[in-house]
Symmetry: C2
Subunit: 216 residues, 2 copies
């Protein structure tokens, strides 16, 4: 059954798309080649007509998932009024829907730790997508794309991704909701707060009674 060029590209894309879902659901090592191909409506033998190795698919699927996330964020921001852009992303990200649907959610909380153990080459590909995400997030902060804003965007992403992992571990009860809420509020309150001065540390300023009890 010889197919047209487009046909192969379509099949390839279908495998990647389905794998991106299943890998986020089951982990980078949680599902086999045969099952991934079955998901795409194929048998496992054809796999190597499309990919050099299982790892190559993981990288492609991961990149695909990351791109979809940034697309989604841009879309959410584009639909919101300017002052609600950040919150529209944060609230969607730290929602029970996202927590309970890792297969269609952000790849970092689902696969980040596993990717961190992969080869430098794989991590590089991942890091490039992470830069994209930081860029999109930085655009949602008021006040230009200077270094301080980039830093804010990094911290916001770290908080969002960390909170989502914790919320998933906690399951779906009150504790989990608490973790989601704590992440949401931290990111949004921090974005709303006046910007700290770039170089000088502000760490000392608010501690009152505890500071008074300090011993040298």
């Amino acid at each position: 059954m010889r197919y047209s060029k487009e046909h192969k590209l379509e099949t390839h894309a279908r495998i990647v798309k389905k794998a991106a879902v299943r890998l986020r659901e089951k982990g980078a090592h949680g599902i086999g080649v045969a099952d991934l191909m079955k998901d795409a409506g194929l048998t496992h033998g054809g796999f190597y007509a499309h990919f050099d190795s299982r790892e190559a698919l993981v990288i492609e699927a991961f990149s695909h998932a990351m791109d979809r996330s940034t697309d989604r964020w841009r879309q959410l921001a584009g639909q919101a009024a300017p002052e609600q852009r950040l919150s529209s992303i944060v609230e969607a990200y730290l929602s029970p829907q996202h927590r309970d649907n890792p297969g269609h959610g952000c790849a970092v909380p689902a696969l980040g730790a596993e990717i961190a153990r992969e080869s430098a080459k794989t991590r590089k590909a991942f890091a490039a997508k992470l830069e994209q995400m930081i860029g999109v997030m930085a655009e949602q902060f008021p006040g230009g794309s200077d270094k301080a804003t980039r830093k804010q965007a990094m911290a916001a992403l770290a908080t969002m991704m960390g909170a989502l992992v914790l919320a998933r571990v906690a399951g779906s009860g009150e504790f989990s909701e608490e973790l989601l809420g704590a992440g949401r509020d931290a990111v949004l309150e921090r974005a709303a707060a006046p910007k700290p001065v770039a170089k000088k540390s502000t760490a000392k300023r608010a501690t009152t009674k505890t500071a008074a009890a300090a011993k040298p």
Copy 2:
């Protein structure tokens, strides 16, 4: 070779301790029973005299690692002057040393996403340890252990854990250092800032246009 009771307990503890290191390094599915036993100076056949299954060891090792982390945080806080307790923990956590040494570091960035996919029973055990961590962190914040402080502690942990995962993905270059720094500053600046408590107190004072519009 019949051994005394203590001997078996010691051996058991040694297996758990070594496994806790290797599992954080390699992931919850990244190393086999035979290698884990070898690390403890034993052969794989004896494994089931100590554990019902591989999963049982993973849970024990994970709990062990979490306890060691909270111990370590208490120790760091105890050695620091009161106003530096939080920063001593945060700076140790978001350091290149911690980033580059997952085997002896916090288990959440190393294994959290994988644990999130395990059985409810496993996640429960994990969540209990997470509660411990939140408690220890909350103690380091100025101003009692009320609900707002607990929330701050949750957000701080989310930021720390998220930033560490991202820094590990980024490897060890400038990008990675940037991520660590962004996480450190976000946690410490937020702890130093006036509390934006939702229920009662001085929450809104510092906010500007974005905060006013942030609520849905």
